[in-house]
């Protein structure tokens, strides 16, 4: 399996449940170890140097936030882990960028699902990663929350961030993608620049139904 992704591109990885989308993202984030092969980010093998993780941001199914801490405390903690200056200031700016400026001092446990997801996006972007890995970032959100997150992702793409986004719902993420890859049983079933949605959906259904 190989994937060539450049700055400012958004690669949508689509596949049915169990295709290996989340596993692929966990491998790329360094959270899982490959049984064979090497994951290389900008030519550097992942795991050889903790500093390479500085360039990677991950948004998974889970928010990676502590429910008992406020959104600001959560993001400030992330900033401290990454050695960023002015953690509290940076945390508030990060929350402001996703429209959560007014809710930063509330414990994450009290925020709605959409707000938690936006805080998680702010957390993933806080250290200005060059590679952003997103696992179902829009799933389960209402229209407003989905639109806000999509707007943030478009802004990051314009700034040259490379985005790899896994989803089993093609339509919700289609507009963001520059390239679309269909994953089935751990291998690419198709891969290339975004084309026609209907043609892709037909191919997707063929793969899902075997």
């Amino acid at each position: 399996m190989s994937l060539d992704a450049h700055a400012g591109e958004c690669h949508l990885i689509v596949g049915p449940n169990g295709a290996g989308k989340s596993t692929l993202l966990r491998l790329l984030a360094g959270l899982a170890r490959p049984t064979a092969g090497v994951v290389m980010i900008e030519g550097v093998p992942l795991g050889s140097d903790p500093d390479i993780r500085r360039h990677i941001g991950l948004l998974s199914h889970q928010s990676h936030l502590y429910g008992d801490l406020t959104a600001v405390e959560n993001l400030a903690f992330t900033a401290r882990l990454y050695g960023l200056p002015d953690p509290d200031l940076l945390a508030r700016a990060g929350l402001d960028s996703v429209g959560l400026a007014g809710r930063g001092d509330e414990p994450v446990r009290r925020l709605s699902r959409g707000m938690v997801q936006r805080a998680a996006v702010a957390r993933a972007l806080l250290h200005r990663p060059r590679l952003l890995l997103l696992d179902e970032p829009l799933t389960g959100l209402d229209l407003d929350a989905g639109d806000r997150i999509a707007a943030v992702l478009r802004r990051e793409l314009r700034q040259g961030v490379t985005v790899l986004m896994a989803s089993h719902d093609v339509q919700e993420s289609w507009d963001l993608a520059s390239h679309v890859h269909l994953l089935s049983r751990g291998a690419w079933a198709s891969s290339g620049p975004r084309g026609d949605l209907n043609a892709f959906l037909t191919r997707y259904q063929e793969v899902v139904r075997g």
Binding site: A29, R33, Q62, L65, Y66, L69, R80, L81, Y82
Partner: protein
């Protein structure tokens, strides 16, 4: 080195803040310690067992089991919202993460001991005059090793289905030596023996600390990789 310490301090400060906010584990552990002391106090047959004979064992049993409750929570809080993945994504060495967790757990267990010791004096009416320094030294040395090994096992079991059960089952056998040595030292001190007489037990505790803190620092990174 600065990055290592920065990561460790950030993790420790975060853990302490989460506990300050929720107070779940600390309140549970202290309540548990008080209950154990009360039960031992009233369950003792005064005609058969004197307070002095039972007191050192009760103190260390209380501290050990209350401490295990706290150590269990150390990684349990990382399970919520897969926060552990967030830690592992950061450009911080796994050893620094261990050190941060370890420091927070030390604060936690020392807090339990600071509450349990006065309760112990109250329930068992022991005279700590002349023995307090030695008991504190034994407690500090026993806690350093106990918390190191407990932190490693808490990390090891965090991804298992029955982490709360598995962790004590795995860690308690490793705690037999330090608890035994701490009980020996405490017995002598409460019997009015001089500090010099417990030097050997304290040396054993210090050796245990050295071995298990070093082993924990080396083992922890491997435990964190899937």
């Amino acid at each position: 080195m600065a990055d290592f310490l920065r990561g460790a301090i950030a993790v420790a400060a975060k853990d302490i803040r989460v506990e300050q906010r929720s107070k779940t584990a600390l309140v549970s552990a202290i309540a548990f310690a008080a209950l154990v002391l009360v039960i031992f106090n009233f369950a003792r047959d005064a005609a058969v067992t004197s307070r002095e004979a039972l007191a050192p064992s009760v103190l260390w049993i209380t501290v050990t089991f209350s401490g295990v409750i706290g150590l269990n929570r150390s990684f349990a809080l990382e399970r919520e919202n897969a926060a552990l993945d967030g830690l592992l994504l950061a450009p911080v060495s796994r050893s620094a993460l261990f050190l941060g967790k370890y420091l927070a757990n030390l604060v936690f267990v020392f807090t339990i001991e600071a509450v349990a010791l006065p309760l112990f004096v109250l329930f068992f009416a022991v005279d700590l005059h002349g023995a307090l320094g030695g008991i504190v030294a034994a407690a500090v040395l026993a806690t350093i090793g106990f918390v190191a090994i407990g932190t490693v096992f808490a990390a090891m079991t965090v991804r298992t289905r029955f982490a709360e059960l598995m962790m004590p089952l795995l860690v308690l056998p490793f705690l037999i030596p330090p608890v035994m040595w701490a009980v020996q030292a405490t017995s002598r001190l409460l019997a009015g023996r001089p500090m010099g007489e417990i030097g050997g037990w304290l040396l054993l505790l210090a050796s245990y600390d050295l071995v298990f803190v070093a082993a924990s620092l080396m083992l922890f990174p491997a435990l964190m990789d899937e």
